[in-house]
């Protein structure tokens, strides 16, 4: 039977089992919207801005293991979406983004709402397509889902001109995809795994360092088993939190620019480093030259060969799906043939415990002004560590990462790589839709939240009971901190003047607003807010303006050169 291109698009989404599409209509996608309205399998979530749509699809994907789907119109619809696409790309999040395009005959003529979508998005997508014929839509969308979700995941853009959505073609959804140019590696090399185990057995000061790959590869169970068996210390990157239970003794906390003293020193002083699904980025290892002195042996598991030996030279590379590789590690360890250097490792643990006793995350608990760390700590206690926590970007993000102990993957959702302010609120929308029964909290700041504040309206429309924890210090806190440390206390443009009354703002959107300005009120306010199961509650915590995030490895410095509180 002949279907229009728009019908085919919607049928493809149904075939992929897509339940939610996040988007915003416009001229070039009207045929597709028309078809969406004629069925009820694929539900459309209308955001208030295309950036919000992308972040919501992203939060949806991060909190599940599904591909997030967004639909936007041509021109400004696409350019607004670019921040969201780049955010997903940097953190390897699987998205399929369907973009409208001007009719094929108008392409290249500077038509109304025309932009070169394939050109503009090329550097920040895993792949993109321009579909020029209705008969190619089904195969292209099938490929898009396949590419987005396999190997190292990432966003895929499918650009469809308006006339293509109106033209008719035979519809048949392909069962599988065969691409000679794209065949991601799955299984790790068994010989390399054996070699890695020999190195780990001989290690005197081993560290296991894991990143977002463990979360994206759904390998937290396998990782936990492996770390337990080995008995070695484990640290997570910002993107890897929840990959290993943060409440466990073998966990050293997050490492990196705002990592713990013990994690950073263990990383710097280890002799065998076992990196799993992590990419040694600048916020994690600091200065690579400093990192390489002293030398250490590095084992690196990653699904993306290009991540290996990119910033640091690796001794034992293992390319493969993290979960499959870790399963193989666990299998090879089953025989009980693993004899580690127990005496040396015991000594290493003693050293680590000494570092740990430095209590690098301490803060003034008797402060008469609300300390932001205290709010996150109470948030953790009141939600019993079981909330899905999204965040924006800045100090609040680091405090959330440091003080909320994530024991399971896919509960910590933040823009780690691109560092996109405005991510938290729409990401919470996606996460709440994907997990209707879960408690979802958005830890944010008064600067970040204003970058996508309009999504409070979306949350109202779909009755999403998100709890917004606004750590309001009247500053772009992280910018202020850098200005204090590195720019002679000159706070250029980082003071947030003329702030809205967030309580009234929340109320004007039909939500519940609360202002909390005394430490004693923090806990009762959080309890009250989380007891309101049906409402979005916006909690505006008036926090200490001068608080800084510690420890801090200044840009360009080494991991052992931390500024401590």
């Amino acid at each position: 039977m002949l279907l229009t291109g728009a019908e085919i698009v919607v049928r493809c989404l149904q075939e992929e089992g897509v339940e939610h599409v996040f988007g915003y209509p416009g001229g070039a996608v009207l045929f597709i919207y028309d078809e969406i309205s004629k069925q009820d399998k694929v539900k459309h979530i209308l955001t208030r801005h295309e950036q919000g749509a992308l972040h919501a699809a992203d939060g949806y994907a991060r909190s599940t293991n599904k591909v997030g789907v967004a639909l936007v119109t041509s021109g400004p619809g696409v350019t607004n979406a670019v921040t969201g696409i780049a955010t997903a790309y940097t953190d390897s999040i699987p998205l399929v983004v369907i973009t409208g395009q001007v009719p094929t005959h108008a392409i290249g003529e500077d038509a109304f709402q025309e932009c070169d979508t394939v050109g503009i998005t090329r550097p920040c997508v895993k792949h993109n397509f321009l579909v020029r014929d209705a008969k190619d839509i089904a195969a292209t969308i099938k490929k898009a889902f396949y590419i987005a979700s396999t190997g190292r995941p990432g966003p895929v853009v499918v650009d469809i001109p308006k006339d293509v959505t109106a033209n008719k073609a035979e519809f048949e959804y392909p069962d599988k995809v065969v691409m000679r140019s794209y065949n991601p590696v799955v299984k790790g090399h068994a010989g390399q795994i054996k070699k890695a185990l020999q190195l780990l057995a001989a290690a005197k000061r081993p560290v296991i360092y894991t990143g977002g790959g463990v979360i994206l590869g759904d390998a937290a169970v396998e990782l936990t088993q492996l770390v337990k068996t080995l008995g070695f210390p484990c640290t997570n990157t910002l993107m890897g939190l929840g990959g290993y239970p943060a409440t466990d003794k073998q966990f050293l906390g997050m490492l990196g620019m705002h990592g713990t003293y013990e994690a950073n020193l263990a990383m710097q002083n280890c002799d065998v480093l076992f990196a799993i699904g992590a990419r040694f980025d600048d916020r994690v290892i600091g200065n690579p030259k400093h990192f390489f002195d002293p030398k250490r042996t590095i084992i690196h598991v990653d699904v993306d060969p290009a991540s290996i030996s990119k910033r640091v030279r690796v001794d034992v590379p293992i390319v493969g799906n993290v979960r499959d590789v870790l399963k193989e590690f666990n299998k090879q360890l089953e025989g009980g043939k693993f004899n580690k250097d127990a005496a040396a490792v015991k000594e290493w643990w003693a050293q680590i415990e000494e570092w740990r006793s430095r209590d690098c995350l301490k803060y003034d608990r008797a402060s008469p002004i609300i300390k932001p760390q205290y709010v996150v700590q109470k948030l953790y206690e009141i939600t019993k560590g079981e909330a899905i926590v999204t965040s924006d970007v800045g100090q609040h993000q680091m405090w959330a990462a440091q003080f909320y102990k994530f024991v399971k993957p896919r509960r910590w959702i933040n823009s780690g790589g691109l560092g996109t302010m405005g991510f938290g609120m729409p990401a919470a929308i996606g996460a709440q839709l994907a997990n209707p029964k879960a408690t979802v909290a958005c830890v944010t700041g008064e600067a970040s939240i204003q970058m996508c504040i309009q999504e409070l309206s979306t949350a109202k429309q779909y009755r999403l009971p998100i709890k917004v924890v606004n750590l309001n210090n009247r500053y772009m806190g992280m910018v202020r901190q850098w200005q204090e440390f590195f720019h002679g206390n000159r706070y250029a443009e980082s003071y947030m003047d003329a702030l809205p009354d967030f309580v009234k703002l929340a109320e004007s959107y039909g939500h519940v607003g609360m202002r909390i300005d005394k430490p004693a009120d923090v806990e009762p306010a959080l309890k009250e807010a989380f007891a309101r199961k049906k409402d979005l509650v916006f909690m505006d915590f008036i926090t200490d303006q001068t608080e800084n995030v510690y420890p801090m490895v200044p840009g360009g410095k080494g991991l052992s050169e931390m500024i401590l509180v």
Binding site: H127, L130, M179, R180, S181, A306, S309
Partner: protein, 163 residues
Amino acid sequence: MKHIISVLLENEAGALSRVSGLFSARGYNIESLTVAPTEDQTLSRMTIVTNGSDEVIEQITKQLNKLVDVVKVVDLSEGEHIERELMLVKLRAVGKDREEMKRMSDIFRGRIIDVTDKDYTIELTGTGTKLDAFLKAIDRTAILETVRTGASGIGRGDRVLKA
């Protein structure tokens, strides 16, 4: 060090810009880049001449392999290979220079493919360094115009790059 990288990629609109975009985005050098369809019309063959440390070249080949349109990548410089580039050069050829230009062309095994009473156009094939040598050997003021294709490369013997 100079490397010649051969890439087999899907002959699709935009594939070239994916490769050139990758080089500019990641700050890699391109000395030259040539591309044309192969005997299989669905595939294009690209030759990229680049330079960089071993680490950079390793990243270049990995990043190229990561592009979804790229079928195969090989660093020809890692083994025996042949490199050829075509150059067309228009030279002023009047008076006593006329004989000299003909002689230089013969020495470099060039062919004169267009003649007027004032100039010769010479076709020259070889490695990049041979073409450079020719241009150096000629009186600079006599060179009216040059156009070079950039290098193409192929492995020697049974070294074959196929999809």
